[in-house]
Amino acid sequence: MLPDKRGRFGIYGGKYVPETLMPLLEELERAYKAAKRDSNFKKQFWYYLKQYAGRPSPLYFAERLTKHLGGAKIYLKREDLNHTGAHKINNTLGQALLAKRMGKKRIIAETGAGQHGVATATACALLGLECVVYMGEEDTKRQEMNVFRMKLLGAEVIPVKQGSRTLKDAINEAIRDWVTNVRTTYYLIGSVVGPHPYPMMVRDFQTVIGEEVKKQIKKIEGRLPDYIIACVGGGSNAIGIFYPFRKSKVKLIGVEAAGLGLDKDNHSATLCAGSLGILHGAMSYLLQTKEGQIQPTHSIAPGLDYPGVGPEHSYYKDENFAFYTSITDDEALEAFHLLSKLEGIIPALESAHAVAYALKLAPQLSSDKIIVINLSGRGDKDLGIVFEKVKKETQQ
């Protein structure tokens, strides 16, 4: 069983939080276990996944991309077609339902690019819960439309002015709010990070992705795929698609953000270039200095721009359940453009990292091999970033 009773995936995970939160984490774990056994809760969750989020998401054969690369067959798991445009909604629906069950009326969340913030605000609007989203001040500027979107959905967005003013600082500030308002407030974490039981819970809510792929690919191809590729920031879309295959022969590949290059210290490739440490409540790989200070990170994909990673991924890496690699900003951008032109699908810059790795892998494989890419989100939110890039390049 993963995690174990202490919330550990091997040596990773655990609960490294201020004492004020410890009793709450125990309460949360009990409430989650009870909900999991309750058929009504399950029914509700599945109802909303289907009728509200639009699941199951299609597994689409990318024929033109496959032909273009001239190797393995490529399928896209279309999480971009979910309501709110990414896999994030699977988790926010699950946790918001749990929060409501626990009698919590106020939800807080952190967000980087705004995708998890939007998905949380959406679930809160749906269930009539108060919603406060912490977002780094830098990110509120880069993602103005998402800030507006959250406000439309009735959420309060608080710009975080502390530290580097990005995702990690938004998490710090959300935790500070949580410590302060612990009795009334539910912290809805957006990835498989944080103290136990969050990495387990978020994973469970996201495994619907992998379970669907298993059924869909068997129906289409009569067998399991050879490779599954997903991008990894905190790692929730990747764990969601990996988990059901962790003991199979399917090769699982997690793609991190190499930013400007791993040799330049301007990246977010935690598993590829980090070391063991403790941040935001869990022991995992971490991008840090020799003295244990957390390092600034960079990725063109705001959802990957994070110095930590889910503890279960650290465990998968050590156990060789999955293989982790990285893709640079430029490679991701190239994949972003290629998929848009060849398939009419504009991917999120995060998901473009997974696509970019497939561009390298597929031509090396024979045509009887099958690759599934988790297309975790759509790229509308990134048009501003890509627009600026294109503008700069044409000016040069």
């Binding site: 201020p18 004492e19 935790i175 410590v179 440490g277 403790i278 003295e291 957390i294």
Partner: protein
């Protein structure tokens, strides 16, 4: 008997409570920190809580966050802080406990840290993001090197859990006055005194109370109910506002003296512990 326990016994005999001022090491620089430590010792500080800066201090409010950033900007490292403690040890016996987040300690190496800290003259550690469940290894090395392990108890901690935490603590227990982060506040929480009374029922270990305690008036109100009183952000704020180390020492010295005077137990209500 370890020195922190001795300090609690001694002050009790002197009919007063233990004053535990907090400053962040390296804020604004290590030289000033050294002078401040000596100033605090000379003006009635009984135990010093010395903050080890971390890039992501999630239990701290804005005042100490910014102090940590100032220290980190100056490149202050844990090894420098240990060297500083070693340096001041020739001039003061005041016990010094390091307060810091787990990751920098973990990177230093727990065994190595316990050894070096003890050698430098550090007397104990407070690690706000290391609850008892995760502390076995640290406890082992701390005990081997006679360092006190000061764990925190919060208003949300149920009594069965508080008992366990008290058992694992040595030196004193750090009672967190509010559900919240560190930072000077104008009022004490309403339920604080009641909570301290309840905690007194379940442990005989010295109880230090901290978070939000910002004035001699606050200290006076807590004197009947706590064995030690921790004042952090209010001191850090003074340092933040002064222009050089002489002024910082002068102002901090004055403030600590006023806090120390407030720790005296008045005759009419002297025996909660």
């Amino acid at each position: 008997m370890k020195i922190i326990t001795q300090v609690f016994k001694k002050t009790k005999k002197q009919n007063r409570r233990v004053l535990i001022p907090f400053i962040t090491a390296g804020d604004p620089n290590l030289e000033t920190t050294k002078k401040l430590i000596l100033t605090i010792a000379q003006n009635g500080g009984d135990i010093l809580e010395l903050g080890v800066p971390f890039s992501d201090p999630l239990a701290d409010g804005p005042t100490i966050q910014v102090a940590s950033q100032r220290a980190l900007k100056n490149g202050v490292k844990l090894a420098d802080i240990l060297a500083l403690v070693k340096d001041v040890r020739s001039q003061t016996d005041m016990p010094i406990v390091l307060m810091g987040y787990y990751n920098p300690f973990f990177q230093y190496g727990l065994e190595h840290l316990a050894q070096d800290a003890a050698k430098a003259g550090v007397n104990g550690f407070i690690i706000p993001d290391l609850p008892i469940e995760e502390a076995d290894e640290w406890l082992k090395y701390s005990r081997a090197h006679h360092l006190d392990t000061i764990f925190l108890i919060a208003p949300t901690t149920p009594s069965t859990r508080a008992r366990k935490i008290a058992q694992k603590s040595s030196g004193f227990i750090y009672y967190v006055s509010v559900t919240g982060v560190t930072g000077a506040r104008s009022d004490l929480p309403e339920d604080l005194i009641q909570n301290l009374k309840q905690l007194r029922q379940i442990t005989s270990r010295p109880i230090g109370v901290g978070f939000g305690i910002a004035s001699p008036e606050h200290v006076k109100r807590l004197v009947p109910y706590a064995d030690g009183i921790i004042v952090g952000s209010a001191i850090v704020r003074i340092i933040e506002k002064t222009k050089d180390s002489d002024e910082a020492c002068l102002k901090v010295g004055e403030f600590v003296r006023s806090l120390a005077q407030a720790t005296i137990i008045e005759e009419n209500h002297s025996t909660p512990s």
